[in-house]
């Protein structure tokens, strides 16, 4: 298993088990993160799972076609691209356990059955701002995800739009639930990160 790998952004390396919150402003900055991240993974032969919430993000994935045969990647299953409605919000609500199972099935299947050495996942998190049942458990889910990460050789990148996540308290809680933070093209160990157990205990 690789111990360090390029993320796709200049000078940024990933390590297996990374759970990263990436902050950006607007669709253009989102695509500047999303596209290189997936492109690097596809080139490295990683399994790539992409969950988008904004239809514009789908188009961004398509822009990969400029450099890669995206259709082939989709056809072979190396790249899985899906919408939040068919992942986070199946049935019009968010359920933590169901989502953890989703990742377990998708990532575990790729590693155990499809033989991928590594999995890159990315999720556009704006779905959590919808007025739907269960979305209030977002941060508990993010904390729980930290326990899931070590199970497989994987990285999960959570995309947060600062123009939409405007509440300061929520932003700090997002920081507290991600061991790493990607800000202004710089990936850092997150000093605000709080152990999941401690965090969940303080928010239960």
């Amino acid at each position: 298993m690789t111990t360090s790998m390029a993320m796709g952004l200049p000078g940024v390396s990933l390590a297996p088990g990374d759970h990263i919150c990436a902050f950006y402003r607007g669709a253009a900055q989102r695509d500047e993160l999303l596209v290189p991240y997936l492109r690097e993974g596809l080139l490295a032969g990683d399994k790539c799972i992409c969950v988008t919430d904004d239809p514009g993000a789908d188009q961004a994935v398509r822009t990969l076609a400029g450099q890669l045969d995206v259709d082939l990647s989709l056809a072979t299953g190396q790249l899985e691209s899906m919408r939040s409605e068919s992942s986070y919000l199946v049935g019009g609500c968010f359920v933590i356990d169901r989502m953890i199972e989703f990742w377990d099935g998708a990532v575990g299947g790729a590693v155990r059955h499809d033989g991928y050495q590594f999995v890159r996942a990315v999720g556009e998190m704006t779905w959590a701002l919808r007025d739907l049942p269960g979305v209030e458990h977002l941060l508990a889910y993010e904390a729980r995800l930290n326990d899931f990460l070590p199970r497989y050789p994987q990285v999960i990148l959570c995309l947060y739009d600062l123009e939409q996540f405007s509440n300061g308290q929520i932003l700090l809680d997002i920081l507290r639930t991600h061991p790493k933070v990607l800000l202004s093209g710089q990936l850092m160990d997150n000093p605000w990160y709080t152990d999941p157990e401690v965090y969940l205990a303080s928010h239960s």
């Binding site: 902050f23 402003r25 300061g168 932003l171 700090l172 933070v181 202004s184 850092m188 605000w192």
Partner: protein, 550 residues
């Protein structure tokens, strides 16, 4: 638990480093933050993680106070910050939110006990970062507002430039039409091309003059005169294009005189501002065009009238022919001078003139004519049925009266005055003057033609005096009408009935007058020779009267 809760120096250093990194992340997040509220919330939420404190509040300069009663204290500590007093707090400090943009407010921290120097350092750094981020955000918001304002201004300018460009296109296109002399057809076509709508040009009365676009209506619908007048009045009052059902109408009225209208056919009411602008420009160009055409027509009419006047008053051959040639008129054809008198239902000389002009054009009889007082003189270059021409005038007038005298044919320029005099005599000789309205050719006047043609009238006057002298003297002294009575009697072959009727007198009155004529004149009205000479004398008497008056 705070980040600086450990006592061991190595742990303290590690803790401080961790806190500084936390501040760095927070600072980046604040800088990236979307709005002011987000920055303030981050600062307030993060402070307890950096130091032991139980109250955190951001008090913006000029903003509403979150912690009451702080105004005076914050004013006192100013931009440097300092110790403040808060109820139930053992320690409280106002850290300035400073930036290069100036003092933005304070981050007020309250705690049970005074925090350690390291904690205070972190809190001060947090306040500085928040202040910097706040200033950046405000600058950014201001830039965005300026950019939005500039963008809106640019958009308005683009709109204005677009409108000006369109206006210029309209102006250029229609000016080109005006200069090229394409007339009403060209104007209609240009407005149609500029608007994409069907365009018609109507005269003052609603008659179609030009059409541009598909599906030209045939026949062209026309309003009643009353409705048309109402429409024109409404358009004049509005002083801009007005909607009339499926049409938008703009008047062409130079100097307030309505000459016509230009119409956009717009059944779906989809005409844009630009289309209306094109219509208004079109109306202006149409007004100029119609004024030009009218001016030309008036000039030509005036020139024709001058030529007619000159010919009737007598001019030399060379001058007359030159003037006629300048007008494109062939004068070297046989002509007759025709004088038409009359009036329509209203006494309007212009209406009468136009009626004669149309009748002469349609008959056809001629195109050179002029109004002279109440009469119209036509120089006829054809030989139409004169009575038919007179009836055409009546038709054009729509009723009223019309009498017509036709002079002899003239072959040369210097013969026009003679033909004119003959035409007038034909209307005024006694035998014709009392006839019903009709057309009278001088050629058909019989003995009158001989009398008019005599150069020396003194012999005629002596002849009249010989036969009618006593009666004329009696009439003059007594104011009677014996000569006129005798004239009517002889002209009707001595028929009592017809004579009484023509004079509009009773039969007995006629008999009395004839008796007086026999007595005063010593005349035998039963003698054929006497009657012949008397009839000739009465006709000569009437002719002399007309000749003297003319």
């Amino acid at each position: 638990m705070t980040l600086l809760g450990q006592d061991a120096p190595s742990q303290l250093e590690r803790g401080l480093l961790s806190s500084l990194r936390s501040l760095l992340v927070l600072g980046k997040l604040m800088t990236e933050g979307a709005d002011e509220q987000q920055i303030l919330e981050l600062a307030v939420t993060a402070a307890p993680s950096l130091a032991r404190c139980s109250l955190v509040s951001v008090e913006l300069a000029g903003g509403r106070r979150r912690v009451p009663g702080l105004d005076a204290q914050l004013a006192l500590v100013g931009a440097t910050g300092g110790l403040v007093e808060l109820p139930k707090m053992g320690w409280a400090w106002a850290y300035p939110l400073s930036s290069i943009a100036g003092h933005l407010g304070h981050l007020v921290i309250g705690a049970a006990t005074e925090p350690s120097p390291e904690e205070q350092f972190l809190l001060r750094s947090l306040a500085q970062q928040a202040g910097g981020a706040l200033a950046n955000q405000r600058l950014h918001a201001q830039e965005q507002a300026t950019a939005a304002e500039l963008s809106a201004l640019n958009e308005r300018l683009r709109g204005t430039v677009g409108a000006l460009q369109h206006s210029m296109n309209i102006h250029t296109r229609l000016t080109a039409v005006a200069v090229s002399g394409e007339g009403s057809e060209g104007i209609a076509r240009a407005v149609h091309e500029l608007t994409g709508l069907q365009v018609s040009i109507e005269d003052r009365y609603g008659n179609l003059q030009a059409w541009a676009g598909p599906n030209r209506p045939d026949p062209y619908p026309k309003d009643s005169p009353a409705r048309r007048e109402q429409l024109i009045c409404r358009a004049k009052r509005a002083a801009r294009p007005i909607r009339d059902g499926a049409r938008i109408l703009a008047l062409a009225h130079p100097q307030g005189d309505t000459l016509g209208a230009i119409v956009l056919v717009d059944p779906t009411a989809s005409a844009s501002e630009q289309a209306l602008m094109a219509l208004e420009h079109g109306a202006t160009i149409l007004a100029m065009e119609l004024a030009r055409v009218r001016s030309l027509a008036e000039s030509e009419l005036r020139l024709r009238r001058d030529l007619v006047d000159e010919l009737l008053n007598g001019t030399d051959e060379e001058s007359g022919l030159a003037r006629a040639t300048a007008l494109g008129y062939d004068l070297q054809r046989p002509h007759r001078v025709v004088v038409i008198e009359g009036r329509g239902r209203t006494r309007d000389n212009d209406t009468f003139f136009q009626a004669v002009r149309r009748a002469a054009r349609d008959e056809p009889a001629g195109t050179l004519l002029a109004a002279r007082g109440a009469e119209v003189v036509l120089l006829a270059d054809r030989e139409p049925d004169w009575e038919s021409l007179r009836r055409s005038v009546m038709r054009e007038l729509g009723g009223g009266r019309a009498r017509m005298g036709v002079g002899e044919c003239c072959e040369r320029v210097n013969e026009f005055p003679r033909s004119y005099r003959q035409a007038k005599l034909a209307l005024r000789l006694p035998a014709t003057a009392e006839w019903d309205d009709r057309s009278i050719r001088f050629d058909d006047l019989g003995v009158y033609r001989l009398l008019v043609g005599i150069e020396d009238l003194s012999e005629v006057e002596r002849f009249v005096q010989h036969w009618l002298g006593d009666l004329m003297a009696y009439d003059e002294q007594r104011g009677t009408e014996l000569v006129r009575t005798l004239s009517h009697y002889l002209a009707r072959g001595g028929n009592y009935e017809l004579t009484a009727k023509s004079l509009i007198v009773h039969r007995n009155t006629l008999k009395y007058r004839l008796q007086r004529i026999r007595q005063i004149g010593g005349l035998d009205l039963g003698d054929p020779d006497t009657c012949f000479n008397l009839e000739l004398a009465t006709r000569a008497w009437g002719t002399l009267g007309v000749l003297r008056s003319s």
